[in-house]
């Protein structure tokens, strides 16, 4: 199964995503240049973290216009798996692949720390191997991760079970204290209706190795691998 990792100017987690596919999963991976019009036969697309175009405008607002994004949207439309991580999540939201938007953290500070997130549903391509309610620990590193959405859409997002991950405390409770960036309803990640596109602020690709403190990110990548092979 071939992973395509999009490199926008300013992406800085693209190498980490490549390592996740190759070193951890043993799958082929290719970096896709933002100016390209071809996914080079990728089965799975990762929109990686970073600061695309410096994020000098709203995060992800310029990257969505990159030529490659039309191909990514078409891939998503066909039901191909896509994951947006951190800046990739912001880009996916800006591109309309996912509902909502990411705003400045409530405390106005960049936050780099491990967080615990709870898996809210397992029908997505990226959480198929999770248990519902399973808690995963992985790092966040963002200044604009406060998930927000208008009231009507929130009703749909919650009503249709589009929330995939919530920030929780050690006991698995979605408390205010656990909601580090002030996201609406502690939302850390969402999916599209079909479940093939998932976006989240935490970094699963940074939680693949006991040496680095957590392997909780593996299950996401293993899920998509199983889903595509199935």
């Amino acid at each position: 199964m071939k992973f395509g990792i999009v490199s926008f100017p300013g992406s800085n987690c693209d190498d980490d995503a490549v390592f996740a596919a190759t070193e951890t999963l043993g799958q082929p991976a290719v970096k896709l240049w933002h100016k390209a019009h071809d996914l080079e036969g990728s089965d799975v697309i990762i929109l990686p973290g970073g600061f695309s175009y410096g994020d000098y405008l709203r995060a992800g607002a310029i990257a969505r216009f990159s030529p490659i994004m039309a191909e990514v949207a078409a891939h998503a439309q066909r039901g191909g798996p896509v994951i947006g991580i951190c800046n990739g999540f912001q880009i996916a939201c800006e591109a309309g692949l996912l509902p909502g938007a990411l705003m400045r953290n409530a405390g106005l500070q960049f936050l780099s720390m491990p967080v615990t997130i709870r898996v809210e549903n397992t029908i997505t391509r990226w959480t198929a191997l999770c248990r519902e309610g399973q808690c995963l620990t992985m790092p966040i590193a963002h200044g604009e991760g406060r998930y927000t959405v208008d009231a009507a859409t929130l009703e749909r997002v919650e009503g249709e079970g589009l929330v995939v991950f919530r920030y929780v405390d050690a006991a698995g409770e979605a408390t205010e204290a656990a909601n580090v960036n002030g996201s609406l309803d502690n939302i850390a990640g969402v999916r599209n209706a079909a479940g093939n596109v998932v976006g989240l602020m935490p970094h699963p690709e940074r939680a693949l190795d006991t040496l680095l403190g957590s392997t909780d990110g593996r299950v996401l990548f293993e899920s998509v691998l199983a889903a595509v092979h199935a």
Binding site: G10, N12, C13, F19, F51, F110, S112, A141
Partner: protein
Amino acid sequence: MTATPRPGDPVITPALVAEHGLTADEFERLRRMLGREPTFTELGIISALWSEHCSYKHSRPILKSLPTDAPYVLQGPGENAGVISIGDGLAVAFKIESHNHPSAVEPYQGAATGVGGILRDVFTMGARPIAMLNSLRFGSMDTPRVRYLVGGVVKGIGDYGNCVGIPTVAGDVMFDAAYEGNPLVNAMCVGLLRDDELIRAKAEGIGNPIIAVGARTGRDGIHGASFASEDLSAATEAKRPRVQVGDPFTEKLLLEASLELIQSGHIVAIQDMGAAGLTSSSAEMAERGDVGVTIDTRKVPQREVGMTPYEILLSESQERMLVVAIKGHEDEVRKILVKWDLTAEVIGEVIAEPVYRVTEGDHVVAEFPGVRLVTDCPQYHPEARESDEAVARRARDVHAVPEKPQESDPAWTLEQLLECPTIASKRWITRQYDSTVRTSTVLGPGDGDAAVLRVRGTTKGIAVKTDCNGRYVYLDPRVGGRIAVAEAARNVACVGARPMAITNCLNFGNPRKPDVFFQFREAVFGMGDACRALGTPVTGGNVSLYNENPQGAVYPTPVIGMVGLIDDVAHVTRSAFGTEGHAIVLLGENTNELGGSEYLAWVHGIVAGPPPACDLDAEKRLIDALLAAIGGGHVASAHDCSEGGLAVALAECCIGSEARPMGAQVDLSAWASLPLRALLFGEAQARVVVSTGNAGAVLAAAAAHGVPARVIGTVRSASAGLVITVGDRVVRADGKRLATAFHTALPRAMQRAVAVVARDPAVAGGTR
């Protein structure tokens, strides 16, 4: 050809010369060098190149005393960064640099551009940056101006490094009124490269084109190098426009483009246009290659119209590189830059004629004979004499300082020290830095005594740390210089790494003051002593002088950036206790020393006494013993004793991990004859607190290396708190209270009132 003035150039008067920071003697030297009157452009060039920042005119003779050799040193001082081999065909490039003055007037941009500059120094060696560190010194957190500086500097560092995607993993932060008005902002970058990809900034090949790469040149930062070479004063605020503005997004593109360029084989040299911009980068490359250069300022891509050669040469616009390409390969170079949406313009040529020539179109505006513009700078050997005040402070009998009534319970004192900003948890700062990007951070901020990065494709790890206790250096520069190196080495050894080499950032006051030059000379000699004893050569660094404000000089602060090597990352060791029931072993010996301690400074407001003695032989044996024990798999945690002494070290071992606090039962009765406060809070060197499941093996390793060692207690659960028995005295400290003091001190201090921008330097300076 000879240079002639441009129409509109100001007339060169003694006042103009003085304004450029040149002495009358230096100006005379310039005239002799040229054999005629200099043009305004030439005066500008020389004022930058002969500034302290570029020329090292006061420091070079002393720096020559430092050891720089080891079999694994691939590049010593004199290049953009030092490089050491780590085996497996891999090498590490690293360097530290200051951005003190810019950060004093514009903390956000000053710190951000400091990060940008040091990144470029490392990737111009062909290395991919893998880690950033910062050594910061601020005044007392009690003043709003200091809180404003802390907030701005931290945000500046974070925003730049986070955007470029290099993890900021370690550093050190200290607070003392001595840094009021003149904070220290030192940034260190560490990069990884294949040793066959090492490239140097040496102009070569007559006829080869010189290419300006990256951002366009604007009027920002003109005279930054000279600005860094004078005291901060009431007029400093007016120099805010000399601070450059950073663009980390362009830096990220430049990083990728530069590495691609280096790997392409189309270029022979590359250098950052850092301090003194185009002037120093071109002059230094020419000097290293022993060739002439000619540059046409009209061809330099500009972001403003009407810039003069003087402005173009001295601009410190950020995110720019100077490249010497192979003749005929210009298009390939351009192609790579265009891919990254950056510009590349040929602006000059390497020439056989030994001159440094600048033209504006056909008009020669500057021409210097010879190619040694930088080293032709005068060198100074100023008078060195210790100040009476330092002698008197050192001589003071600090054991006679009466205890405060509250000190009858040492748990009170311990709590006080844990909330002293210098000792307290720095998490408020470090969580604003992305420390996990690049997925190689094995130990990040607060995890261990040093940070550890894994090296993909090997079992190896690189440990990095910065250190310097300026108070020690102030009280005894020779000893303080030794301790700075020894402590950095000890910290790196605590995580399981063999100390390999250092870079240093020498932050001092005005070298023309005899007491400052004495501090400088002795501190460098002390560093040299320690580097020789510990086998850690100096591979480069930076000198930052004139760190003064109207209240006086900062503490002499020679910051050490240490790099260590771990053969097997499986043996990386954290600093906090982790397992109930493990034995606690103290390696090293407790002493009756209180001088220069954080205890005296924080609890009593006294900076006096001799700093702790530094026995370099004992330090070396301690490191060897520790590495033997860690390498044998016998050590669960290791933490050195530094500011706050043994009691603070033990407390940090208990509560250092916010997520998994522990407790400890400790018995120090073996040292019951020492005064209690010296035992608990004195800062004797060469001590490490270890927890282990195999005390016998640790004691044996210590004995084999002649290191005093003793089991002093047992790791308990958090609810036990920290209990220290000394003869018939029992000190009981509640774990939760200690943790609250330690973890909330910094956020509490930062939240105190709203940080106000104190623009009036008279207010900003505060009092000492």
